[in-house]
Amino acid sequence: MQFRRRQVLGFTLAAPVALAFRPGFAAPRADVSREVLLTWHKLILELVRHTATYMPPVAARGFGYIGVTAHEALATGKPALRSLAGQLTDLTPLPARGEGEFDEPCVLHAALETAVKELFANTGPTGQRAMQKMSEMMGKTASKDIASDVVERSVAHGRAVAEHILAWARVDGGAVVENMGFPRDYTPGTRPQDWVPTSLVRMQQAPLLPDWGKNRPFVMPDTASLDAPPPPDYDEALDSAFYGFAKEVYDTGKSLTDEQKLIARFWSDDAMLTPTPAGHWISIVMQIADRDALPVEMISSTLAKLGCAQSDAFVSCWSTKFKYNLLRPVTYIKKHIDKAWEPLLITPPFPEYTSGHSCQSGAASTVLTSMFGEDFAFDDATHEDEGLPVRSFPSFTAAAEEAAMSRLYGGIHYRFGNEQGLTQGRAIGALAAQLRTEA
């Protein structure tokens, strides 16, 4: 599949959406806020990659809370924005601003600094050093030429907003991740269709985060209502539907084109080597924000909705994964089709159904389509510094569909896992899209 670059069309469509937000404070301060938001997120994408516990579901959760933090920090000072308190599960009203003048960049910087330092408290010495440097740099940028009493008041408020969000986050079930997310005790299933470890890595002999589906969601009323239907009946007969799905993975893997290999690697989004699938979509938003000079309120609103949708997508998907506990294609194929077969991508260490990347891409594309419209074209240079070329997409939907298909090319998912994952994610994305961020 090859897409044409359609940047001009994308910009044309984006401009009216962006203008609708009408920033309420002077443009220079809005520009500073925007710089604060995007620069912190640039660091966050690196921290996700370089913090060992930030497996894809954990990363999505982090983006959710950071997105909400930024939006709420701005919303407390701008009547045109609407708080997500009361809309997100168990989020109570945020601290109100007191008397006196506040500076938006200082509020936003303090809120992000506080949230990032706690959410990435476990990162290594280089991440700690980078966070410290970022605090100094953005602190100076935000407070330049601002009266000290205003800075002090604004920083205190930003921290209060973040502390409120963090207190809410600490009790969602996902705050503590041990052993990089792999349980030390695990009893494997005994049915022939049950997932078995596929890795030679000793830690990965138990599946990643088996209880993640029990976490408190952001927007879903409950996890079960958005569950995917059961996968096709497991069967080892050559004429069975299940065998056919596995054979499709095998045949596809045997005849991959260079373009299909590129697609598989472009959306691979491996933990600890990339910002993960959720970070990939955050990166897309940052690129659009940069290209179209989106105002800070538009960016923060988008990041909040996107983060909530992606986090819930992983919660829902993980619930489904451990409900059905379906074996990966590599296991079935090696046992029933070709014992020497190897997939292009490294098979992730958890059950197959549904596809996590497909689910969260479905959620992300639905949110972004609601924000930017159908047929919103964009270029994606997320992995340019990893040596992968820029890819161009005619719409968020097309990008999500390619992401889902990439898992088949990579040999790590059956077609039905991708398709049901997309459907599952789109339903979650639709809930997030209904969040009201404007008054």
Partner: protein, 519 residues
């Protein structure tokens, strides 16, 4: 074939291996150097062991990071308690590691010192005196964060080629990721070094090793890289054809397979006795043991058998810390003299990373003889919880039992003497060539193990910024003699020799072994 080899060996050695006994002599031995420093010293912490006094006992050079390095003279009585005398011979700051090497082939070992800043070549003057030789030898020490080293004598050269691995651009503070600086290849031009050749792309190397992976007679350069900092990176291997520019092995042209780990150390040995070197790669959590899948294919395609072999060493095995491990210096050696290779791995948190073990004991994994290993670090007495980095497993008192020295971050280096009863035979050899490459770097020692031949590459490099030149130790088990020969650099095959157990021998090309007695 591999399985058959292990079956052939299994009969005499498959029982629980003998647990060696080590005694911690840190307090009495006199090694007091601490590897100090903060972020710029989170990697490094090497040790070099070599004899510069001429008595056969290895001296110990310890890097100090932000604190001064130190050279310690070995005053240990043969077979007795370890004792070292601190000197001011090599007191340098910003030292990350060091490797001994007789660069000018004058029969006196020199020292390659890796630093934060300018690297130093120190010319040995005899009696453990050194002088800086960068200028005299045309060596550009650069200004980088140097964290890996390897050396080889390329065909036709009388001086070595030095490979130096470099780490992050230390000036990048907020976004250091993706800032890996170029590694360098210092090739000789006559009796000096030419300008360094950048090994681009470079991916934050923490270990390098010249190795003849396919027995072509022409070693390649393996580089283990820290994925924490590179972008578009992976483990690497370079072709190094004489007179030609270095060239990366690629997936398309060579069948090189992409592997991305927190590469921190390389140890090579013929673990599976197939005649080809296998590679243990240290990392965080799981470590790798790579064995060549199919030598006949000519492709560097490796299978990871660490899990099957029981040497993933992915988490602490004692002390109660449940978090994953952080592994640094690996080294194969036969510590219990049973004729089967064992593996030591130095462990320690990068700094204070809460997702990784704070109490992370060093590993001593004993080869069983059937291809598997059992952990014995705690039972052997070397399961230190200090934050280890570099190390050397070496016979410090020439009693035939291997001892251990480990550099630790923020606390003193530790040294253990092996003190248990000898349960197996051993011998130690030293290679000596006339003229260039006196210590025969790049040679292969072959020793018969029953029906198979175990091959040992003699290398300068690998590990974690730590190296040794000196006596090469071989455990013999119940054998009273070893059948051994040397394939000298350049390919000349020495004759098979029968060397009685319990002795030291100097091996020279075309000559009978010369017995040597310590003391």
């Amino acid at each position: 074939m591999r399985a058959l080899v292990f079956l052939a060996l299994a009969a005499p050695a498959c029982a629980e291996p003998t647990i060696p006994t080590f005694t911690d002599e840190t307090a009495s031995a006199g090694l007091s150097t601490v590897y100090e420093g903060e972020w710029e010293y989170m990697v490094g912490g090497g040790v070099a062991t070599f004899d510069c006094s001429g008595d056969g006992l290895p001296e110990v050079f310890l890097s100090g990071g932000a604190a001064p390095s130190a050279l310690y003279l070995n005053r240990s009585p043969v077979g007795g308690a370890l004792a070292f005398e601190k000197t001011d011979a090599v007191t340098l700051d910003a030292v990350l590691g060091a490797y001994p090497l007789d660069i000018d082939s004058d029969g006196i070992l020199d020292l390659v010192v890796l630093r934060l800043g300018e690297n130093k070549l120190l010319r040995g003057l005899g009696q453990c005196r050194f002088e800086e030789a960068n200028e005299a030898w045309g060596f550009d020490g650069g200004d980088a964060w140097s964290s890996a080293f390897a050396a080889i004598w390329e065909k036709g050269q009388t001086w070595p080629t030095l490979a130096i691995g470099n780490y992050i651009d230390r000036k990048e503070e907020a976004f250091p990721w993706g800032s890996c600086t170029d590694n360098w290849l210092h090739r000789p031009e006559g009796n000096k070094f030419g300008a360094p050749i950048p090994l681009t792309p470079s991916f934050c190397a923490l270990s390098m090793l010249f190795t003849d992976w396919n027995r072509s007679g022409n070693p390649s350069l393996r580089v283990s890289n820290d994925r924490e900092y590179y972008k578009a990176g992976q483990e690497q291997m370079w072709h190094l054809d004489p007179g030609a520019a270095p060239r990366l092995y690629t997936e398309k042209e060579d069948g090189w397979k992409r592997l991305r780990i927190w590469g921190m150390g390389i140890a090579a040995a013929d673990v599976n006795l197939d005649g080809y070197p296998d590679y243990y790669l240290t990392s965080m959590a799981d470590n790798k043991l790579q064995v060549l899948k199919d030598a006949a294919s000519g492709k560097p395609d490796y299978a990871d058998i660490a899990f099957k072999s029981g040497i993933t060493a992915h988490k602490p095995y004692t002390g109660g810390d449940i978090n994953p491990s952080t592994a640094w210096h690996p080294q194969f050696a036969d510590v219990n003299n049973d004729g089967v290779l064992d593996l030591f791995v130095a462990k320690g948190n990068v700094a204070k990373m809460p997702d990784f073990a704070a109490q992370d004991p060093n590993n001593l994994m004993l080869g069983v003889g059937d291809g598997t290993f059992v952990e014995a670090g705690d039972r052997a007495g070397v399961a230190s919880m200090r934050i280890a980095r570099g190390a050397q497993v070496v016979d410090l008192n020439l009693d035939g039992l291997l001892d251990l020295v480990v550099v630790n971050r923020w606390t003193s280096a530790e040294v253990w003497r092996q003190t248990g009863e000898a349960t197996g035979g051993w011998l130690q050899v030293r290679l000596a060539q006339p003229e260039a490459n006196r210590d025969a770097i790049g040679a292969v020692i072959e020793i018969k193990r029953g029906v198979v031949v175990e091959r040992h590459e003699i290398a300068s490099g690998g590990g974690h910024v730590s190296g040794s030149v000196g006596w090469l130790h071989f455990g013999l088990g119940a054998a009273t003699a070893a059948e051994m020969r040397v394939i000298w650099p350049g390919g000349a095959e020495g004759s098979w020799m029968t060397l009685p157990a319990g002795g030291f021998y100097i091996l020279r090309p075309g000559q009978d072994a010369e017995a040597w007695t310590p003391g």
